[in-house]
Symmetry: C2
Subunit: 138 residues, 2 copies
Amino acid sequence: MNQRVTLITLGYRDFERARDFYTGLGWKIGWTDDDVIFFQAGDMIFAVWDRAKLAEDSGVQDSGGWGGVTLGHNVRTVKEVDDILERATAAGATIARAGDRRPWGGYSGIFVDPEGHPWEVAQNPAWTVHDDGSVSLD
Amino acid sequence: MNQRVTLITLGYRDFERARDFYTGLGWKIGWTDDDVIFFQAGDMIFAVWDRAKLAEDSGVQDSGGWGGVTLGHNVRTVKEVDDILERATAAGATIARAGDRRPWGGYSGIFVDPEGHPWEVAQNPAWTVHDDGSVSLD
């Protein structure tokens, strides 16, 4: 199995809220209908879809809250972390942890999207963020 | 905000089980300690970390089950879908939906990793899977 995730689908309860949040971050919709949105995200696809349909399609029970997955967005500077947290807040996120220095040597904060999905925005000096935004361990 | 996810972290309750499952898929560890594993996954990082620590770090309450996130792995052929579902089963996954034709025109199945995280393995004729495994909407 190729060592890749090619699709992340986040479940939503309110389509317009989910759409407005991610487009509010400045993201451009790649494809949509009344139900699903696909965003091209680097070399993979990021999707939002009705949470009940996603649970059924995935063959799982929905426990209703957070289920053990956190997404991350790595940038190069502390200022970018703070700017993104501010933009996410303006778009409707709540801040679960303001930007601060972390024990692992970087700087990060957490925003939680309007559907309860947390994102860590981080400047991690141990990893390389390339010009196109891709990230390498090293 | 750059239109990318650069890190996905899955929470686990049993470190060895999580490690053995993902390495059992043939994935190579990029960095690890006693607690976390980072895999280079295309142009992003895939991580597993203690679920309670991840919840605390993410500033969220853990509802204990699935929380509205499903990962995907796109391939080019039906045979690859079936082969990956078989390999995932051998590595300790359960099959939530066997490979079959889907209403959207492709073929997919769902495996659920030993920690309850579902993955859809799919052949989607509407998307392009490039030689390196990256995926484009088109």
